[in-house]
Symmetry: C2
C-alpha cells in the first residue's frame, strides 16, 4: 500500500486547459463544416484550414457508468453574419445526459429537444448547463474572444450528427449590430 500522495491532472479554471501526461486533442477546421452555416458562398470564400474549435480531453474507458471530461475552445468569428459554432449533436445513446461549465468568453448553448423545442442558454464564466437526455446541443460564440466550456459526459453516450440532417438545428444565431439575434429556420 502506498502511503504517499499523487498529483492528479489539472485544469486551468480560467480557460479549461488541461495539464496531464495524456491529454487528447482534436481540432475542427472550417473546411470540414460543409453545410453547417447558412451562407454557403461565404463559407466557401473563407480559408478551409481555419480552426473553428478545438477539444481537449482526458482519456477514459468506454465501459457503462464511466465518464469523460474535456474542454471545447470555440474561436470567435463569423461565416457571413452567422457566428462560429460547433457542429452540434445528439448523443448516440439518447438517454445519456451531460454537463457544461462556462469558463471563458461569452456565447450561447443551443439545446434542441428530440420533440423540437429549442432553448438558448447564456454561456459565461461560471455558467452551469444541464444538457438533459434526448437533447441535441451546440455551442455558439457571440463574442470577440475564445469561448471555453468544460464538459462531463458518459463515455457510452457517443455522438449522432446525422439525426439533425438535412435541416440542421431549428435556430440560427446571427450578428445584430453589436449583439445577436436568433432566427427560426423551420417549424
Amino acid at each position: 500500500m502506498k502511503l504517499t500522495s499523487i498529483i492528479p491532472p489539472q485544469v486551468n479554471l480560467a480557460n479549461g486547459s488541461f495539464t496531464a501526461p495524456d491529454v487528447q486533442h482534436k481540432s475542427t477546421l472550417l473546411g470540414s463544416l460543409a453545410g453547417i452555416f447558412a451562407d454557403h458562398l461565404a463559407w466557401q470564400a473563407m480559408p478551409a484550414e481555419s480552426a473553428v474549435y478545438h477539444v481537449e480531453m482526458l482519456p477514459s474507458c468506454a465501459q457503462e457508468g464511466e465518464l469523460f471530461v474535456g474542454t471545447t475552445h470555440l474561436q470567435p468569428g463569423k461565416v457571413g453574419d452567422e457566428f462560429f459554432m460547433t457542429r452540434g449533436h445528439f448523443h448516440q445513446r439518447r438517454e445519456q445526459a451531460e454537463f457544461y461549465f462556462g469558463l471563458r468568453g461569452n456565447g450561447l448553448l443551443l439545446l434542441q429537444h428530440q420533440e423540437g423545442d429549442c432553448t438558448l442558454e447564456q454561456v459565461f464564466a461560471g455558467s452551469v448547463h444541464h444538457i438533459p437526455s434526448f437533447t441535441a446541443h451546440r455551442l455558439i460564440n457571440t463574442s470577440d474572444e475564445v469561448l471555453s466550456a468544460l464538459a462531463v459526459w458518459p463515455t457510452v453516450a457517443g455522438h449522432d450528427y446525422s439525426a439533425l440532417q438535412p435541416l440542421g438545428f431549428k435556430l440560427r444565431v446571427f450578428a445584430d449590430g453589436t449583439g445577436w439575434k436568433a432566427e427560426a429556420q423551420y417549424e
Copy 2:
C-alpha cells in the same frame, strides 16, 4: 419557439457555491459521524452539532443516463490528530464513476478500490480527479481553510456506506507537524 436566451444556474469557480432557484443543501454534523474517526474519546468530547461538511447540489432526475452536479465544502479541523473528512462511500451501483474538481483549499482524495488498493490524490484549486468504477472515495481536509470540490456523478449511482463497515477505509490521515502522514489500519 422562444427566440430569447435564458440565464442558467451558476457556480462560483473560486469556491463552488451555486446560484440557482432550487439549490439543495445537506449538512453533516460531527455527532452523526460515530465510528468514523479513530479517536472515539476525542470525538465524544467535541460538540456534536459542529458542521464537518456541507453539500450543495442542483436537482436532477433519477433516470438512467442522467447526471448530478454538486459541491462538497469540508471544514478544517481535527478529531484528535485525525483531519476532518467525509464519511466516504462506494456507489451503490459499483460500475458508476464520478469526477471531482478541486476549487478551494488543500486536501486529499482517498480512493480505495474494491480489491483493496488505495491511492491518495492531492486536492487543490484546479485538480481533476477521476473516481473510477468500483472505487470508494473520501475527501480529507489537511489545511486550515475550507476544502471545496465540485463533483459530477450519475444520478443512478447511489451511495453504499455499509460496504466499508466495520473496518472502514484502510488508510487514515493524521497531522504530522505542519504536514500529514497516512497510516495503514489493516492489510
